[in-house]
Symmetry: none
Amino acid sequence: MSDRSAEKKQHIIKCAREVFAQKGFLAVTMKDIVEACEISRGGLYLYYDNTASLFLDVLKYDEEDAEKDSEDISGDMTSAELLAVFFKEQKKLILRKKNRLWRAIYEYCFDQKDAPGENFIQKQFDGGVRIIETLIAGGVADGDFVCEDPAAKARGMMYVLEGMRLLSTASAISPKEVDREILSMMQEIVVD
Amino acid sequence: MSDRSAEKKQHIIKCAREVFAQKGFLAVTMKDIVEACEISRGGLYLYYDNTASLFLDVLKYDEEDAEKDSEDISGDMTSAELLAVFFKEQKKLILRKKNRLWRAIYEYCFDQKDAPGENFIQKQFDGGVRIIETLIAGGVADGDFVCEDPAAKARGMMYVLEGMRLLSTASAISPKEVDREILSMMQEIVVD
Amino acid sequence: MSDRSAEKKQHIIKCAREVFAQKGFLAVTMKDIVEACEISRGGLYLYYDNTASLFLDVLKYDEEDAEKDSEDISGDMTSAELLAVFFKEQKKLILRKKNRLWRAIYEYCFDQKDAPGENFIQKQFDGGVRIIETLIAGGVADGDFVCEDPAAKARGMMYVLEGMRLLSTASAISPKEVDREILSMMQEIVVD
Amino acid sequence: MSDRSAEKKQHIIKCAREVFAQKGFLAVTMKDIVEACEISRGGLYLYYDNTASLFLDVLKYDEEDAEKDSEDISGDMTSAELLAVFFKEQKKLILRKKNRLWRAIYEYCFDQKDAPGENFIQKQFDGGVRIIETLIAGGVADGDFVCEDPAAKARGMMYVLEGMRLLSTASAISPKEVDREILSMMQEIVVD
DNA sequence: CATGAATGAGAGTTCATTCAT
DNA sequence: GATGAATGAACTCTCATTCAT
């Protein structure tokens, strides 16, 4: 792919992201994308055959962004501190109103459920579990946390986060509510 | 509405339910319903103007069914036993593969988010919280449970259940996994 | 036809008149009529098979009404006075905004142009010509009017009236404008 | 708009004109147009959203045509001669059987009566009045005509023409009849 | 007679997708 | 590569008309 091509793709992805954030996945048509990108109808088809393949690229581009954001996390924090940071980040994602893709992601996954081990939500969930598990284990080693089964605990926590994310997407949830749940989860493992 | 009319409505609701269970909410067209019910194109419009109003009736009919099912719960069980029954029921709902409406419900709520305090998912969530809270409080009174803040606990549990429901809808979840989470939630409140 | 039947027909005609006055002829559906009459769908078909046959009856009923109205004209007026009354009546019909059927009549006649010598507009026109012609002739005999060819004059006057009626139906016309034309027509024949 | 596009539009307008001439305005469907143009269903919507906007273009195209036709009028004729030519032209328009748009124009204007000062019939009428008025005034100056109030006379004449046009559209009118009226109008102003 | 549920034809409209330029 | 006109399939919705009750 030439540079020009890659640039154009970036442009499409960026505009399409807005559309998906606004309308979810299922209701978005190729026409919507074309209009948002201000490119030609045929032009879009040179890069993407359907909304699904485009949406996958939107997700990829979003992940890259997220990684860049989280790079500044590193440093010399303790596991306990890192877990707090992780929760704070999740809280932000859960409460974000504008430009969030959750609705689209849900709709996409419902639609592509049969896909081969490539389920985005599952991956996201597993990734979260792994991070939390590692941090809890680290905290236990540091003497900050007490937890018999970090893996099980991590799963439970991720379910809570997913539940809140869903409620936020389908209805609404207050920052206070999220804080309460996070606090409650922390208290369950932290050494008094 | 005459008996005849009500019967027909029941028929439409029943057939439509299948369609929604299979295709979700957004992808379902009036044509799909017409074909599933084997009625005429115009005939459906006699009863429902759009998929949304029909879907609302499907949900209502589903709730009535659920109430009938849960009537046989009553009896002389303790709160602790009742909570176990509640979780078992939830497990069944979470794991059900066929004929479940979750996907459709999610898609419907995403689409109608602005609706006036009539959010189905929120109502479902609040209802669950109320039940759990009551049962925990009862269990505490019976000396079966220990819990400082039953309301907060109930919310946390419902988030876990919602999280599992979502994972099950968008990806998959094993009975063992559900059992583990339920067991873990019970252990947190049960007196050793 | 039984009395009851005739009564019902009257009811349908009366309601249908409103509909035609408001929507013209072509845009009116059998459904519109049914709703306006608050009778059953099938019920209407017992009396009228289509909007055209119903409209014909509306016109007939309207004519009967008009005749009743004009009965009180009689008396001991001169032809010149009667012509003035006729013009005044026409003026009222031309300027009437509510409940007038002109639009519907035009649309109906356009649609049924091929009909066999039953053209409503033509009949109306011819009727008007006959009246004016008679009155002019009478006026000439009385020495009030001067006119070489009353028939030709009458036709010319009816064209003016038709032209004003059309303008009023398709656009708008002011009472002053109508007065001016009527005055001008009178002056052409009146003895100075 | 590209040349190609303009050409296609011309083609649509031309075919649509036939349809409107034949069926009037209200009874014409987008489907009728599609079939007459032999283009695709969606293709028509690329150019026109509804029959009304298309009809407006048909009228515009017709006016342009009319202007071309009347260009050869110019020259060194007297006002009196020009008025005769104008009446002859009107006679032709009134008597034309095929491809005339009057019915469609009437139906369109009835339907769009509320439109903002853009009434086609009114404009047509006012235009005619202006022409006649100018020509009468010119004729008076030349000593060919006698007329105290050319403006009033012009209005009266246009009403006669409109009346004849309506009769011709809704019923029928003979060339002799039109000639008689025109002659009669001329005699009223011509110097003996 | 009267009802109104039911049917099915047909109009309107939108889009995914193709293809000549 | 890029464009955007063109196509045709699919869906929504409305009504005239029928018919069992």
